[in-house]
Structure formats: structure tokens, C-alpha cells
């Protein structure tokens, strides 16, 4: 039971990191990033491939963050000059393109067969409760650091500028600030967070394949963010916890309803995510603990 709760806790913490990246991009700045999973995938593969080459783990995490941020750079440059609806479409396309590239470039990523045997976070320890506990502690620490960093950012002059981008970009331009530069920085920083989340994911699951990086992952993070409350750092944590409770809950649901196959359950889960996205935007856009004024 403890092991099971820890496993859920680790996945929840990974989603907290992923959602924090989105909170920075959409919640604080208003960038509609529909391609978050692409940066998550880049981080996961970067760290996994480097660690399999014998690079020590802390360095591979740095590389994962860098790779995701660098991937965000051209996307940011190109897309941030676009209106937000075009930006959403372009990022959606980017996320899909990353998955296609992972599928096609078998020499690097082993294609659809995937990469097995990725070293665990604490590969020296035997697989068991202490090892899981240590893994959870490290990821939780990373979440705490990221959350505190986001809080600092939101309260800083930089945070006020990106808040102004979200609320009224034209007014900001009239005041002589260049939104594009700030958006680019936000895009890269948020993607770096997604990259680190991806690295944790790869080293925890120890196996990567393209079908783990479907667009649904992006919208899990969106769902977590919207449920928790858009624009709030604590909302990302609450939202990710709710998301995990929901994902695990649907697994238990299968034990109670006989004759439901795993693929049917996947459909039900997809439908529930869709329903949550629709209902929250319709009836409670501020989320469960969001700021009602925004």
C-alpha cells in the first residue's frame, strides 16, 4: 500500500512540475501552449539517452532542461509574433512533430520499439521502498524549488510585466515594453520545467516510447492547471493531485464495473478529460481555487 501511494505520489509530483511550466506560460503570461508534451518528450529523451551513454545523472537533468529550452527558442521566436489562436495551432503542431520525429529517427530514439533500461534515479540502491521514498523526496524537492521560483517570479518586476502581457498587451506596448522578449523567456523557462519533468519521468518509468507522448499529456497538464486554478502556483499542486486521483480512480472503477476492457477505459478517461475541460471553461473558469477577478 505504501509502495502504491508512493508511486502515485511520484507521478503526481512529475505532473506538478509539468503543470508549473504551463502555469508560468499560460497562467501568469497568457501564452496558450498546446504543445507542452513536445518539451516534456525532449527532456525525457535527452536525459535518458545521455545517461545511457554514461553521463552522470545531475548533468543529464541539466541537459534535459537545456534541450527543452533550446527547442522552445525557435518556436518562441516564430510563434510569439502570432496572435494567440495561431500560437495555439503552431504549438499543437510542434508537439505532434516532436512525436513524429521520435517515431522516425530510429537511429537515435529506437523508434516505436522505445528505449528500455533507463537508469533509475538511485541506481545504486535496490528497488524497494527506501529507493522509492528517496525518488519521491528528490522530485518533491524539485517541485518545491520550482514552485518557490515561480512565486518569486510572479512577485518580481518581471512578473508584473508578464502579468501585463496576459491582461493587456497593447497597453504594455504603449508603455514601451517589448512583449516578445518576455514571452520568449517565459516560453523557454516553462519548457525547461517540462524538460526536467520529462527527465524525472524517464528515469522513473525506465522505458520511453513515442506513444507515451501523445497530445493527451499536454491536456492532462491543462486539466490540472484549470482544475487547480489558472494563474496560481498552489493551484498547480492541487490540480495535479486531483488529476492523479482521477487517473487512478478510473483504474479502480474498472474493478467495480465488470467487462470493461483497458481500451474502453482509455476512451472513458479521454471523455472525462474532455468533459472536465468543457465544464470547467463553461462554469468555473477560475478553477477550484483560482482568483475570481481574472
Amino acid at each position: 500500500m505504501t509502495a502504491y501511494l508512493l508511486a502515485i505520489g511520484i507521478m503526481a509530483a512529475i505532473y506538478v512540475l509539468l503543470t508549473l511550466g504551463l502555469t508560468l506560460q499560460y497562467g501568469l503570461t497568457g501564452l496558450v501552449n498546446f504543445g507542452h508534451v513536445g518539451f516534456f518528450a525532449i527532456g525525457a529523451y535527452a536525459s535518458a539517452l545521455l545517461s545511457l551513454q554514461g553521463v552522470p545523472l545531475p548533468l543529464t537533468f541539466l541537459a534535459a532542461a537545456l534541450a527543452a529550452a533550446i527547442a522552445a527558442w525557435p518556436i518562441g521566436l516564430v510563434a510569439l509574433r502570432l496572435r494567440e489562436d495561431y500560437f495555439a495551432v503552431v504549438t499543437l503542431g510542434f508537439g505532434e512533430t516532436v512525436r513524429l520525429a521520435i517515431t522516425s529517427e530510429g537511429w537515435l530514439t529506437n523508434g516505436v520499439q522505445g528505449i528500455p533500461g533507463i537508469p533509475r534515479l538511485f541506481s545504486a540502491m535496490p528497488v524497494g521502498l527506501p529507493e522509492a521514498l528517496a525518488t519521491f523526496a528528490v522530485i518533491a524537492l524539485a517541485c518545491t524549488v520550482a514552485a518557490l521560483m515561480l512565486r518569486r517570479i510572479a512577485a518580481s518586476p518581471f512578473g508584473r510585466v508578464i502579468g501585463a502581457i496576459r491582461d493587456n498587451e497593447d497597453a504594455l506596448k504603449a508603455l514601451g515594453k517589448d512583449p516578445a522578449r518576455f514571452k520568449l523567456q517565459v516560453m523557454m523557462l516553462g519548457s525547461a520545467l517540462a524538460g526536467i519533468a520529462g527527465a524525472f519521468y524517464g528515469h522513473y518509468i525506465t522505458y520511453l516510447s513515442p506513444d507515451q507522448f501523445i497530445p493527451l499529456v499536454t491536456f492532462y497538464a491543462w486539466m490540472a492547471m484549470i482544475m487547480g486554478g489558472v494563474g496560481r502556483v498552489s493551484g498547480a499542486v492541487v490540480g495535479a493531485a486531483l488529476l492523479m486521483a482521477f487517473l487512478e480512480g478510473t483504474r479502480f472503477l474498472r474493478d467495480f464495473i465488470p467487462g470493461v476492457s483497458e481500451v474502453e477505459m482509455a476512451s472513458v478517461r479521454l471523455g472525462a478529460v474532455g468533459l472536465a475541460l468543457v465544464l470547467f471553461t463553461l462554469f468555473r473558469p477560475q478553477g477550484l481555487m483560482g482568483d475570481y477577478r481574472k
Binding site: L82, D85, Y86, V89, E96, E264, V268
Partner: protein
């Protein structure tokens, strides 16, 4: 070889063009990129498949796909998008994703996940000027041409079509001219859904029917709508053809998976170099 791929590209391009027609109408009139367009196609494909399985008639299948996808599209408007009028663009974008997931989930639950095919009779290809063309491709091109004719007649020869174009041009001016927004919007979503439905049925006949098929066509449809110029129905169809042919002709060079990515790069390029597309007007904002 190249000419053969060209022919395949034309049929594929007509599918993209029809899907892009729906996307560009919604984008031009309701003013947001509808991410549920792809899954509306899937609804049409399954609707057509059920009717084709029951009757074996392509005509009935086409009618069923139009009905199913049109109904799904209209329902999406009535239940979700209509209530979001006046809300932020991000709300519409997220809600559209939600609708897309709901449609796909419903199809997955009702029809299951195994791939299905239209049991179309096999026929020998016809030789035309050294090119082998399957009779099915000719039929599908005819279906597409007929659907496009109907769609353009609705847009350019009926009062409701004229009103739609007026709303696309200038919503405020349309409203003060006494155009009822609800009727126009309902007609718009029906028409966009119907176009997506036919596109879905054609794609289902050419390939296989599966819950993910429409979502995978979403990116090419968006790319064609942008390449053609948002709000331009002619542009969407022309750009769809261009993109379809480009995808098929480039397949030997870039490989099977990257032909979807091609749509992404075309979209990026157009947005950077000529954001109003081929047929679009200068709008000031992109």
C-alpha cells in the same frame, strides 16, 4: 512514378480541402481555430461506415456522414461554443479540445478501437495516359466535387450564405444590418460539420476507420486553411489540393511519418512569410 503520386495527391488533397473548408469557415466566422474539426471528421467516417454496412450504397453513406457530422458539429455549437460567446479566445480553444476528446471518446466507446474498413468492391484500375487510376478514386473525386459544389452554392447563391459571408466580413456591421447571429451560426456549424463529415467518409474509404483518424488530419486541415487564407473557402480547397499533392509527392523523399510534419512546416512558413495566405485579405492582425 511522380505522376502516379500526383494522382494520389489529388484525392488526398480533396479530402484535406473539404476538411479545411470547414475549418476556415469556423475560423473566419466564429473566429477561432476549431480543434474539434478533426474528430467531427471521424464522426462522419463512422456514420458513413454504419450506413454503408447496412445498405452498401455510397450515396446513403455520404448522406449519413453529413447527417452525423453535421449533428455533432451543431450540438457542439449549441451546448458549448454558443455559451462561450464573448469569452476569451483561450476559453474557446480549450473548450474545442474538450469537445474533440468527448467526440473521440464517444466513438471509442460505441464502436471500439479496432480499425474498420469500408468493404468497397475491388476493381481493376483504369489506364489513362499511362497512369493507373482506380475507379474508386474517380468516384471519390466526384463525391468531393459534388460536395464542394453544394457547399459553394450554399455560400454564394443562398441568402444564408450571403449572411454568413457578411458576418465573416464584419460581425458588427452584419448585426446592425439585421442579420440574426444565431441563424447564421447554426447554419455555419451545420455546413462546416457536413464538409468535415464528407471528408471523414472519403478518408475512411481511402484508408481505415479508427477513432484517431480525424485528429491526425487536423494539422493538415489547419495548415491548408492558413495557407489558403483564413475565411477564404476557395483558398482552403486550393491549398488543400496543394498540400495533399505536396504530401504524396514528398513521401518518397521524407518518408511516411514526416508527411504529416510537412503540414506543420508549411503552416509555419506561411505564417512567417505571408500570414494572410494565398487568397486571404490583409487583416492587420495575425
Amino acid at each position: 512514378m511522380l505522376a502516379q503520386l500526383f494522382v494520389a495527391g489529388v484525392v488526398h488533397g480533396l479530402i484535406i480541402g473539404l476538411a479545411a473548408l470547414g475549418v476556415t469557415l469556423v475560423f473566419g466566422i466564429a473566429r477561432f481555430p476549431n480543434a474539434a474539426a478533426g474528430d467531427t471528421m471521424t464522426v462522419g467516417a463512422y456514420g458513413g461506415l454504419a450506413a454503408y454496412g447496412a445498405t452498401g450504397s455510397l450515396l446513403v453513406a455520404g448522406g449519413a456522414s453529413v447527417l452525423a457530422a453535421g449533428a455533432a458539429s451543431l450540438l457542439g455549437y449549441l451546448l458549448v461554443f454558443r455559451r462561450l460567446a464573448g469569452r476569451s479566445l483561450a476559453a474557446l480553444l480549450v473548450a474545442a479540445i474538450g469537445v474533440a476528446f468527448l467526440l473521440r471518446a464517444a466513438l471509442g466507446v460505441v464502436f471500439g478501437h479496432q480499425q474498420r474498413v469500408y468493404q468497397v468492391p475491388l476493381a481493376w484500375p483504369i489506364e489513362v495516359m499511362g497512369l493507373r487510376i482506380s475507379p474508386m478514386d474517380i468516384t471519390l473525386a466526384g463525391v468531393a466535387a459534388a460536395s464542394l459544389t453544394v457547399a459553394f452554392l450554399v455560400l454564394y447563391a443562398t441568402p444564408i450564405g450571403r449572411q454568413m459571408r457578411a458576418v465573416a466580413d464584419d460581425p458588427d456591421l452584419a448585426r446592425v444590418s439585421g442579420i440574426h447571429p444565431f441563424r447564421v451560426m447554426a447554419a455555419l456549424w451545420l455546413l462546416a460539420g457536413a464538409a468535415a463529415g464528407i471528408a471523414g467518409m472519403m478518408l475512411g474509404i481511402k484508408t481505415v476507420v479508427a477513432p484517431e483518424m480525424g485528429w491526425e488530419s487536423l494539422l493538415p486541415a489547419f495548415a491548408a486553411a492558413i495557407l489558403g487564407g483564413i475565411g477564404s473557402p476557395v483558398g482552403a480547397v486550393v491549398a488543400g489540393l496543394v498540400l495533399g499533392i505536396a504530401q504524396e509527392v514528398s513521401t518518397p523523399i521524407v518518408g511516411f511519418t514526416y508527411k504529416i510534419a510537412l503540414a506543420f512546416f508549411v503552416m509555419l512558413l506561411v505564417l512567417l512569410v505571408r500570414p494572410r495566405g494565398i487568397f486571404g485579405r490583409v487583416e492587420g492582425v495575425r
